[in-house]
Amino acid sequence: MSSVLILFAHPALEKSRTNRLLLEACRSVEGVTVNDLYEEYPDFDIDVDREQQLLLDHDYILLHHPFYWYSSPAIVKQWEDLVLEHGWAYGREGKALVGKKILNVLTTGGRHEAYEEGGYNRFTMQQFLAPFDQTAYLCKMIYLPPFVVHGTHRLSEPEMRRYASQYKSLLTMLTTDQIDLEDAKTRRYLNELLVD
C-alpha cells in the first residue's frame, strides 16, 4: 500500500471543466491526499514546513496542473523554489526525498499530435518536461512519465469522464502497488498502462 500526494495547481479552476472532473475523480481514492495549492496559498505564501511534511508522508508525488505555456502555473514554480530546499531535498545533506516517485499530471489544449517533432508545438512532452525530470533527478527521486489529457479544448463530456476514470485507475494502481516501475519508465505516457 503506497500513499499518493497530488499537488494540484489551477488558478482558475472555475473555468476548467476537465480539471474539475479529474480532481473529483481522485478525491474518492483511498490513500490519496489532494493539496490544492491555489486554494491553500492564494497569497503565494507557501507553508514550507507543511509542504515538506506532506512530501515525507507520501510515496508518490503527482504535480497535477494545466500545461500553461509549456510549463506549470506560477504557483508550482513558487512551490519548487521554496519547498525543495538545499540541504533537505538536494545537495550533500539533502536526502529527504530519495527514492520517492514523482510525475506530472497534465491537461493541454492542444492535441497529442501537436506535441510531436514536426508538430504544431515542435517538441515532445518529454522535451518540454525536462526541467521537472532534472529536478526529480537532482532530488534523487524517480521521475515517471506523465499522465496527459490532450486536446481539452475540444473534449466532449463523455471523453472527459473517460479520462477521469483513467486517472482514478492510475491512482488505484499506484496506491495498491500494481505498477511495474521498470516497465512504466519505458513508456512515453503513463496513459499507455491503462486500458479502459
Binding site: 482558475a12 472555475e14 476548467s16 492564494p42 489544449g109 492542444g110 479544448h153 475540444r154
Partner: protein
C-alpha cells in the same frame, strides 16, 4: 484693565516687533535687537518709558528663571554630574579670580577695600540671559565652549547665595532709612541661625522630591484632560511656585528653577514642557533685554564719557583675560577659548539685583552704583557685538572652527522611522516594524498610553507631534520615514505641513479615516495615503466570497483588483471634487460620490481582468476553427 498697562504693552511689543527683525536681518541677533529697542523707547531717545522700566525689568526676570528651568530640562542628572568638574573648578576659579582682579582694579582707584571687594564679586557675574540666548540662537550650546560657558554661568548662579550672605558684612556707609523694606525679605531671616541651613537643605530636597514624585503624576493627570492651556498653566505655576519657595529660603529662584528642570529632565513630558514654556521664556527675556536697554543712563555717560567707556573696557578686558587663562588651563582649543572668554566677559543681570542690594545695605555709594549700573548695561549691550566681532573678524582667521556637535540630549537612538500616534492604527504599524527589527521612535499624545508603552521598554515620547521642536528632538533630521497614524485629520495635515517645511527629506505615509480626509491629504501633495477601513473591509469581502464557495485565489485577486480600481476612481473624483463643492452640501456630495463609485464598479473593466488571463474561451473557439 488699566489703560496705561495696555499702552505700555503696545510700546514694548511694538519696539520689539520693529527692531528685532531688523537686527536679525542684519545678522546682529535678537538680543541686540531687543537692546536697541529698549534704548529707542528709553529716556535717551523717545522717552516712552521712564521709571517704571525698573519694575518691568524685575517682572521680566521671570524670563531668566524660565530659561534656567529650560536649561535644567535639557540636562539630565547624569550629564550634570559629568559637568561637575567644569562647574566647580572652572566656575569657581572664574568667580574667585575675577572678583580678586576687579577688586584690585577698584582699589587702585582709591576705593576702600570693602566696596572694592563688593564690586569685584558683583562684576564677576556674567549675563546668563544674553549669553545662553545667544549661544542657543547660534546653535553653539553643545560645543566645548558652550558647555564650559554654561558651567561657569551655573556656578555664578550658585555663587549668588554666598555673595548675598557676605555682602552685609562689607557695609561701610550709613544705612538709608528705607533699608528694611528691600525686596528680599526672606522668611528665613526670621529664623534662628541653627535652623536656617536645615530649612535651606530641606527646601532643596523637597524640591527634588516634589519634582520626582508629585509633579510627574500631576502632569500625567493634567495631560489626561487633553487641555493644553491647563498643561501650560501648570508648568508656569510650577516654575513660579519654585521661585517663591526659593526666595523664601533665601536661594536664587533661577537656581531653584534649574534644579526643578534637571529633576524633570528624564520625564516623558520633557519635550512638551520645553515647547510649551519656551514662548514665554522668549517673550519675557525679550522684555528683559528691552528694559536693560531702556535702563542705560545716557545722561551719566554723556557727563563722563571717557570714564564710563574706560571702566567698561577695563572690566571687560579683565574678565576676558581671566577667562582666557582659565580656558587655556582647562585645555580649550583657541577658537573655543575665544568664544568662551569673549562670550562671558560682560557683567550680568545679577549685578542689577546685587547693586540695589549693595546700595540698600550701605555697601556701595549711590554714585558708584549709578555709574556701575550704566557700565553693566553697556557691557551687556556690547556683548552681541563682541560675539559678532569674534565670529566675523577673529574666528575666520583661525580656520579651526569646531563644528557644533549633534545635540546629545535628543532621543539617542537614530531610528529610521518615526511613528506619530500609537493608537489602534499606529500600534499595528509600529509593532510590525519593530518585529522586523526596524527602529521606530514613537510620538504620542495620550499620557496613559505613553506610560504603558514606556513600561514595556519602548522609546515613546509624549507630545504634539506636529510641533517642529518635538520632531527635531525625535530625530526627524536623521529619520527616513514619517508614519502619521494620528486620529485627527487636522493634526495629520498640520504635521504634514511641518514635515514639508522643515524636514522635506522625510517620506510621509499617512493614515486617513475616510475619503474626505484622503482628498485633503491628496491636495497636500501626499501619495502614500492609507484609508484605515479599506483593507479590512476588503479582507472581509474576500472571506465572504470564499465562504460562498469561490476559489480562494480568485477572491484574493478580485479584492486586489478592486482596491486598485477603487483608488483610481478615488483619484478621479478628487480631481473634480473642487468644482462640485460649489453645488452640493457635503452630505449630498458624499451620496453623489457613492453613486459615482458604484456605477464605476459596473462600467469598469477591472472585474473582467480577474480571470481573463486563464480564460480559454477565445482560444477554444480558435482551436475549433483551425482544427489544431
Amino acid at each position: 484693565m488699566n489703560q496705561s498697562v495696555l499702552i505700555q504693552a503696545i510700546v514694548y511689543l511694538a519696539s520689539g516687533v520693529f527692531f528685532v527683525p531688523i537686527a536679525k536681518r542684519l545678522g546682529l541677533g535678537s538680543v541686540l535687537g531687543y537692546l536697541i529697542a529698549g534704548v529707542m523707547i528709553g529716556p535717551a531717545v523717545l522717552g516712552l518709558v521712564g521709571e517704571e522700566g525698573h519694575d518691568i525689568m524685575h517682572f521680566a526676570e521671570f524670563g531668566v528663571i524660565i530659561m534656567l528651568f529650560l536649561v535644567g530640562l535639557e540636562l539630565e542628572p547624569e550629564r550634570l554630574w559629568k559637568l561637575r568638574m567644569p562647574v566647580l573648578g572652572l566656575g569657581g576659579l572664574q568667580v574667585l579670580l575675577t572678583a580678586l582682579l576687579t577688586c584690585g582694579l577698584a582699589l587702585t582707584t582709591g576705593l576702600p577695600w570693602q566696596p572694592s571687594l563688593a564690586l569685584g564679586m558683583i562684576l564677576a557675574m556674567s549675563s546668563t540671559a544674553i549669553v545662553l540666548q545667544t549661544l542657543n540662537e547660534k546653535g553653539l550650546m553643545q560645543t566645548a565652549a558652550g558647555q564650559n560657558t554654561f558651567a561657569v554661568l551655573l556656578f555664578q548662579d550658585i555663587a549668588v547665595i554666598p555673595i548675598l550672605a557676605i555682602m552685609p558684612l562689607l557695609a561701610t556707609y550709613p544705612l538709608p532709612i528705607s533699608a528694611t523694606e528691600h525686596e528680599h525679605v526672606a522668611f528665613i531671616d526670621g529664623l534662628p541661625g541653627w535652623l536656617r541651613p536645615i530649612v535651606v537643605v530641606s527646601a532643596v530636597v523637597g524640591l527634588v522630591l516634589m519634582g520626582r514624585y508629585v509633579m510627574q503624576p500631576v502632569f500625567r493627570i493634567i495631560a489626561r484632560t487633553g487641555m493644553r492651556e491647563v498643561f501650560i498653566a501648570t508648568a508656569l505655576l510650577m516654575v513660579a511656585g519654585i521661585s517663591v519657595l526659593m526666595e523664601m529660603v533665601g536661594l536664587s529662584p533661577a537656581l531653584g528653577a534649574f534644579v526643578a528642570g534637571v529633576v524633570l529632565a528624564n520625564s516623558e513630558y520633557k519635550h512638551e514642557l520645553e515647547s510649551d514654556i519656551d514662548p514665554f521664556k522668549g517673550l519675557l527675556l525679550g522684555l528683559f533685554f528691552i528694559s536693560v536697554g531702556a535702563a542705560i543712563n545716557f545722561e551719566l555717560i554723556a557727563e563722563n564719557p571717557l570714564l564710563v567707556v574706560g571702566i567698561v573696557l577695563a572690566v571687560m578686558v579683565a574678565k576676558a583675560l581671566v577667562l582666557a587663562v582659565l580656558g587655556k588651563v582647562f585645555r580649550l582649543k583657541t577658537d573655543q577659548n575665544l568664544l568662551f572668554s569673549l562670550g562671558l566677559c560682560q557683567v550680568g543681570e545679577f549685578a542689577f539685583v546685587l547693586f540695589s542690594f549693595a546700595s540698600q545695605n550701605g555697601i556701595l555709594a549711590k554714585e558708584t552704583v549709578d555709574l556701575m549700573t550704566a557700565v553693566v548695561a553697556i557691557s551687556m549691550g556690547l556683548t552681541p557685538l563682541v560675539f559678532l566681532a569674534n565670529e566675523r573678524l577673529l574666528l575666520p582667521r583661525l580656520g579651526t572652527k569646531e563644528v557644533a556637535e549633534k545635540e546629545q540630549d535628543t532621543i539617542d537612538e537614530k531610528n529610521a522611522v518615526i511613528v506619530a500616534g500609537f493608537g489602534r492604527y499606529g500600534n499595528i504599524v509600529g509593532r510590525f516594524l519593530r518585529a522586523n527589527n526596524i527602529g521606530t521612535t514613537v510620538l504620542d499624545f495620550d499620557s496613559d498610553r505613553v506610560d504603558t508603552l514606556r513600561k514595556l521598554g519602548m522609546k515613546v515620547y509624549y507630545g504634539d507631534a506636529s510641533r517642529y521642536d518635538l520632531l527635531k528632538s525625535a530625530g526627524a533630521e536623521d529619520a527616513k520615514l514619517m508614519i502619521i497614524a494620528l486620529d485627527s485629520a487636522e493634526k495629520s495635515l498640520e504635521l504634514v505641513e511641518t514635515v514639508k517645511k522643515h524636514f522635506p527629506h522625510l517620506k510621509v505615509l499617512v493614515r486617513a479615516s475616510d475619503r474626505e480626509d484622503t482628498y485633503d491629504l491628496m491636495d497636500a501633495g501626499l501619495t502614500h495615503i492609507y484609508r484605515e477601513t479599506v483593507d479590512s473591509s476588503l479582507r472581509m469581502g474576500v472571506d465572504a466570497m470564499t465562504l460562498l464557495g469561490f476559489r480562494a485565489y480568485q477572491s484574493q485577486r478580485a479584492a486586489r483588483l478592486f482596491l486598485k480600481h477603487d483608488e483610481k476612481a478615488l483619484a478621479g473624483l478628487a480631481a473634480v471634487r473642487h468644482d462640485r463643492k460649489q453645488y452640493f452640501s457635503s452630505a449630498r456630495q458624499r451620496i453623489r460620490e457613492l453613486e459615482d463609485l458604484l456605477s464605476s464598479d459596473e462600467k469598469d473593466r477591472w472585474l473582467k481582468d480577474v480571470e481573463d488571463g486563464w480564460d480559454p474561451e477565445s482560444l477554444r473557439n480558435e482551436f475549433k476553427q483551425q482544427n489544431l
